[in-house]
């Protein structure tokens, strides 16, 4: 098909039956810092044992492949020697365990939320992959997505205190406050998008909600908080159409808050994974989304990579076997490995 060229010709290395490719040339652009892809790293060795990274995977739209990507990236990272915990925070619709080939576990986040266990680590489930544990979601808790703010904060604190190198938190669809707060708790929020208008539309809505919520958390004035809430509606009476208008309006109310919002903008760097790409044109949509976010929000979205559309993905899900274990040489698995190698090398 010619979409993915022969990676072995471009360099890379084999490991444990898996081939780790170099980053696709098309994902390197002027201004991007070069990433030392797995240079000098051996299996079982990580660069810095003290660091802890939390990646939250969201994106607004259901069915974009968040859980599939979370499960498979988690396996890749653990194979690279990282201690990984996968957390299914799709409260009410959890099924990350299925992507890992694990039957619905007895213990879940429900037990923690309902105080049947004292510590979150008590509900961690080992998987067949060394270094990889699973914390499954609250399947039977219908109102879990709207869990009380106190519960939510406690849950987030408990997740942050878990002992692991890397945590991947799989979020549910939608823009509920719970989903947004989980997304914002991370060191790096990742949105998974498919190259379709519906998916892109939901992703922008998700990013806007997350961005405005983060801005709201950074300000102190209640009138500024109200202004931010009002700005979420594009047909607002204040005529605020975009973040620039919002900051301009805030400046009239509270200069200090406007400055804080500008500072927040500089540090809000979500990541993007484009899933189910079928052509080179699809791959380029990721760069266009990045440019659109820069022009609209003034934020730097990092395009982590893409996963090609591959029938092997569907086959692996049906077999309840993770793709990177079931068919590591498939094109989609190669793409996931590249993304995982980027994550492990992120500063």
């Amino acid at each position: 098909m010619g979409l993915i060229c022969d990676e072995k010709q471009r360099g890379g290395f084999e490991w444990g039956g898996l081939f780790f490719a170099r980053p696709p040339v098309c994902l390197q652009q002027a201004g991007d810092k070069p990433i030392p892809y797995l240079r000098g790293i051996r299996v079982g060795q990580v660069q810095n044992n003290n660091r802890k990274m939390i990646w939250t995977i969201g994106g607004g739209k259901g069915g974009s492949g968040k859980s599939f990507i979370t499960a498979n990236i988690g396996i890749c990272l653990s194979k690279l020697g990282e201690r990984v915990i996968l957390i299914d925070a799709d409260l009410g619709g959890a099924n990350l365990h299925t992507f890992l080939g694990i039957s619905p576990p007895v213990l879940s986040l429900s037990d923690f939320i309902k105080k049947r266990v004292f510590h979150l680590r008590e509900v961690l489930i080992p998987t067949s992959t060394p270094n990889l544990q699973l914390l499954t979601g609250a399947q039977d808790l219908l109102n879990a997505a709207d869990s009380k703010s106190v519960q939510k904060r406690k849950l987030i604190r408990s997740i942050q205190s878990l002992d692991s190198h890397t945590m991947l938190v799989d979020l549910g669809a939608g823009n509920s406050c719970s989903v947004l707060d989980f997304f914002l708790m991370s060191d790096g929020g990742i949105v998974v998008v498919t190259p379709e208008p519906t998916s892109i539309e939901n992703t922008y809505r998700f990013l806007k909600s997350a961005f405005y919520r983060r801005l709201k958390q950074s300000v102190s004035s209640s009138s500024v908080k109200d202004l931010i809430d009002g700005a979420m509606d594009r047909k607002n009476e204040m005529g605020i159409q975009n973040p620039y208008d919002l900051i301009k309006a805030v400046r009239r109310v509270d200069e200090g808050d406007a400055q804080r919002m500008l500072e927040e903008t500089k540090t809000f760097h979500p990541n993007l994974i484009l899933n189910q790409v079928r052509s080179k044109k699809d791959i380029e949509i990721g760069f266009s989304i990045r440019s659109a976010c820069l022009k609209y929000f003034g934020i730097h979205l990092h395009y982590l990579g893409y996963v090609v559309y591959d029938q092997d993905v569907s086959n692996s899900i049906r077999r309840r076997r993770p793709l990177v274990l079931e068919n590591p040489k498939s094109r989609a698995a190669q793409c996931i490995m590249e993304i995982a190698s980027k994550l492990v090398n992120r500063p």
Binding site: A30, G31, P197, Q241, E284, S288, S291, A292, K295, G298
Partner: protein, 197 residues
């Protein structure tokens, strides 16, 4: 974080101020591909008017940055070299800002003028009121005196092609501390009216 009207041409095209012509060309193609009405990447995020505004800014940025003379002149008026690196002039008023007061950057003088309509003779009057010689404008903008004279006298047959004229008007307006966008629009409009007559 700045709205498109206040961004530098380099920011509009997402390239560094040291970008090569090839990089600018590539960035322009990417920007054109991204910001058009049917692009999936702008769907639901921008209104049609916003996309049009971005398209105009992209075209303007490309035309200036791909022209060696215009780019040099633009760089001189917008950037300074600090520690061997090109950085944006901090004192430079935002591009296209309608709120700024006209000021003369190289003398530090401030001179309030009535807003347009800007024609050749208006520009000349403003310059003369400010007590600035045409040579000084030429030195700052790197525009030849002959062209500046043609601009002021509105000698249409001696004026350069529209794309260059816009660039020259922009630099001339900036050197007088006027709103470049307003000057360009009104000057071109008056020129068209003159041609009709």
């Amino acid at each position: 974080m700045r709205p498109i009207k206040d961004q530098t041409y380099y920011e509009i095209l997402e390239v560094s101020p040291t970008a090569t012509a090839k990089e600018i060309q590539r960035a322009y193609e990417h920007a054109k591909e991204t910001f058009h009405a049917d692009s999936m990447a702008v769907y639901s995020l921008f209104s049609e008017e916003e996309v049009e505004e971005i398209q105009k800014a992209i075209e303007e940025a490309f035309q200036v940055l791909m022209d060696e003379t215009l780019r040099k002149s633009y760089d001189q008026s917008h950037f300074q070299t600090v520690g061997g690196q090109l950085t944006e002039r901090p004192s430079e008023p935002p591009r296209g800002s309608k709120e700024k007061k006209p000021s003369l950057s190289f003398t530090g003088l401030s001179f309030n003028v009535e807003d347009g309509p800007y024609r050749g003779k208006t520009l000349k009057q403003i310059r003369e009121k400010m007590g600035i010689e045409l040579q000084a404008i030429s030195k700052e903008t790197k525009i030849s005196i002959k062209i500046l004279e043609s601009i002021e006298e509105e000698v249409s047959e001696k004026l350069p092609a529209l794309v260059y004229l816009k660039g020259f008007l922009k630099n001339y307006a900036q050197s007088l501390g006027l709103n470049p966008q307003k000057v360009i629009e009104e000057y071109i409009h008056s020129l068209e009216e003159l041609k009709k007559k």
